[in-house]
Structures are given as C-alpha cells and as structure tokens.
Amino acid sequence: MLTFVNVKKHYQGKAGEVQALDGLSFAMEREESLVLIGPSGCGKSTALLLAAGLLEADEGSILIEGRQYTAPRLGTGLILQDYGLLPWKTVFENAALGLRIRKLPRAPREEQTREILEQVGLADFASNYPGELSGGMRQRLALARALALDVDLLLMDEPLSALDLELRETLQDLLLTLWRSRGYSQLIVTHSIDEAVYLGQRILVMGPRPGTLVAELLNPLAGSSGYRSSSEFFAKATQLRTLLLDTGDSDGVQ
C-alpha cells in the first residue's frame, strides 16, 4: 500500500537545521493497521505529513500502490492531533467538506455525509458547531470528515491523545470497528504503548532524532475482540516497553 524508501527530510527550526527523518524505510500492506511509535520529536509526525503528500521529501521516495506523488492524493485521509476542524462550519458541513471540495453533487453528498455521521454516532449533532462538542465527539467528527471520502488509506497523528482514558478506549474500539468494516489501511502515529499494542498489527519503533526505525514488533492479535484484557496483550505491551527502554528512547513514551 504505502512504501517509504530511505526517506530523508530536514526542516529549518529556531535553533538551526533539524534532521527530522534520516533514511526512514518501511512498507505497509493493504488493509494493514500499522503503528509508528517513538519519543516526541522523533520525526513520526513529519513522516505522516510526508505520507499525506503535504510535505516533500529531500531524498528517497514515497510510494502508494507503487506510484510516487507530491500532492495530497484522492483516497488518503488525514487526522491530525488537534483535528483541524473548522469552527465556523456545522458538524454536517465539516463532515461534508471533502465531498464539497471534490464537487460531488448535493444529493449524494448529503446522503454520504448523513451515512458517515450515523456510523461515528454524530447523526443527532449535525447542526451543532464543533465548539459545542465534547473532545470525544470532535474526534468522531474528524474521523467522519476523513472517512466521508471513502479512503483506502487513513493516516492519524496522535488521534486520541487529548482524551481521557475511558473515552480513549471507546474510540479505539470505534477506530477498529470502522477499519474492519470499511477495509482501509491505517497508519497510526502514537506515543502510547497501550494504544500501539491495541491498534497496531505491526508496530514500528522509531529512535530519537534523527528519525530512523530501530525495531519492529509483530502483533497479529491486534484488533481481535477481548484483546485488551488478555494476558497476550500485557505480554506484548511489556515487550514493547522493554524494546523502547533498550533503544534508549523511553523519554516521552507512556
């Protein structure tokens, strides 16, 4: 699905040049749920913006289905940490925005929007503004906006980090439900060990700056029901924690 080949990217920070990615390579399978974990500042968010076509790599190549691209691609959805919802548009208008930008006629646009709002549980709030929603509902709206376009690749940057624990678990389950029912591939960037193990069939561990991969953990049970309370889940979380400690980048990882 998505392939990074030796991708390098630097940016101009306040204290000079920062090498955010230094030869990142990985390949993601179709319909896979892949997690990218690492300490803050390891370049994982940069990797996500590159995958979204919103940044251009300095070196190396990024391919989707074998094709290079330099602009946001039809079929890739993106959810950022603070969602980037538009406060001046209603829930319905926010969710419909992608379809509107793609110039879908009104009738199918409204039908598709209603459908996705139903799926994320926001049908009753269509005419509210984002400022009137709780954190969890905003997250649902961000999901609806990205998924309204019928994506085959969903990219998420710390999608649940602003939510409290109980809500996080509910929404993790929603993420899994949607992923299973709609059959897209998802790439999730997180710094939470529990979230990585619950959501990621494969977990890529990034080292401290400059960003490269230091380990890979297979986690085939991710997404199966009851996984969160199983002993396998705790074993895997412990394994990941040890892995992060060994690579010396536990800083900022929970």
């Binding site: 538009l86 001046w88 992608g98 906006r145």
Partner: protein, 247 residues
C-alpha cells in the same frame, strides 16, 4: 426565552437617560451659552429636522460607501499578504511607513484632485479604513491554525479552497473588530472633511451653527453625529451575527 432585543433597547434607553442627566448637570454647573442644556437642545432636533435629516443621510452615505470601498480593497490584499511570508516581507515595511501617517493630511491634495463634493471625503475615509483593515486582516490570516489548513488540504483543497473555507472565515471576526475601531476614526475624519470643504453633511451643519453662535443648533448636530455612530455599530453587529454565526 426573553426577547434578546429587549435588553439592548433597554440598555440604550438607560444609557441615553444617564448621559442626558450628566449633560444637564454639567450645563447647569458651567452656566455657559457654549454648553446648552438638553432641554434647550432636543427641541432643535425637531426644529431643524428638515435640514438635519438630509445632512445625516449624506454623512451616513459617505461613511458607508467609504467603509465598503476600504474593506473591499483591503480584505483580499490583507488575506493574501498574511498567507505569503514573501509578500509580507516586501510589503510589511511599506505598510508600516504609510500606516501611521494621519490620512487627514491628504485632504488638501484630494480637494485639488477631486473637487469638494463627495469624492475627496469618501476617499479620505476609505484610506483610513483601508490600512486598519489591511493590517488587522493580515495578522488574522497569519494566525490561522496550521492543523486546519493541512486538514483541508488533505481533503484535496486548492489554494482558493483554503482561502474560501479556512482563511476568510477565520479572519471575519477580526475584520469586524477592525471596522468597529476604525469607524470611530472614520466619523472624526468625516467631520473634519465636511467642516472644511462643502456645505453638506453633519460636519458642515455643526460648523455652520458654531459660526452662527447657535449652540443649541450645534448640539442638535452633535446628537445626530452620535446617532450616526450608533447606526454604524449596530450595522456591524447585524452583519457579524449573519456572517459569523458560530460565535
């Protein structure tokens, strides 16, 4: 639910009453013909209604047209400069040099170029509005959250889509703040321009009364000018409620 219009009208009634009482006491205390009491002034409103009405309307027309021209020119330019660091680097210094110049100093040249009718007054006010709106809107456009822009671009938005769905609505509340602040200056400049050139408008009415030493008549003109300000602010409130409903 209580009618939200009622407290507003009540607020105006109370404010008007308070101001009239203070004014009356101050006039009694000073005992000068240059400050007539409201009791002497208010009847003048009725007496000169035939002249005040048209003067009020011509002043309102000048300010509103100037506001429109200034905003229509400044808003797009401010949005574009705000979203382009390169343009901002070039035009920022130009703005900072021109902005602090009180635009009233251009009245003589405008009178020479445009005559003494509506045009020089409208251009002068539009110039003032232009710079204030330009700088405020530019700064608002700079502050648009990156996450909103990136999210919308990830949905396939063009540059124009980003302006339409993100940058323009994000800047609207700031635009109204700029308009509210600059309309005070606008009315002051209107008064000055009307007082100096031509014989129409509230500025001319006030200065004529002054020349006749008819102070109650002059204060009737001042009341009309205050009302002009109220009309502008209420206009902005109505527009903002329609255009920025999410607030």
């Amino acid at each position: 639910m209580i009618n939200p219009r009622f407290p507003k009208l009540l607020g105006y009634a109370l404010a008007l009453f308070g101001i009239l009482v203070c004014w009356h006491l101050l006039a009694l205390a000073l005992g000068s013909p240059a400050l007539p009491t409201p009791l002497e002034t208010v009847p003048m409103l009725a007496r000169y209604a035939g002249q005040l009405g048209p003067d009020f309307l011509i002043s309102l027309y000048r300010v509103v047209v100037a506001l429109l021209i200034g905003t229509v020119l400044a808003m797009p330019l401010g949005l574009i400069i705000g979203r382009s660091p390169r343009l901002d680097a070039v035009l920022g210094p130009v703005l900072y040099i021109l902005y602090p110049i009180p635009k009233i100093v251009f009245l003589p040249i405008l009178l020479v170029l445009l005559g003494i009718a509506d045009a020089p007054k409208i251009v002068l006010i539009a110039l003032t509005i232009f710079f204030q709106v330009l700088i405020t809107v530019r700064d608002a456009a700079k502050e648009v959250p990156l996450a909103s822009v990136l999210s919308v671009r990830s949905l396939g938005a063009s540059r124009l889509d980003v302006f339409r769905h993100v940058v323009i609505p994000a800047s609207l509340p700031e635009l109204f703040t700029a308009l509210r602040i600059s309309s005070g200056t606008a009315v002051a400049i209107l008064f000055f321009a009307e007082a100096i050139a031509g014989s129409t408008g509230l500025g001319a009415f006030i200065v004529d009364s002054w020349a006749l030493l008819d102070y109650p008549r002059m204060f009737a003109g001042i009341i009309a000018m205050a009302f002009l300000g109220v009309v502008l602010y209420e206009l902005f409130d109505i527009l903002e409620r329609r255009l920025a409903r999410w607030r």
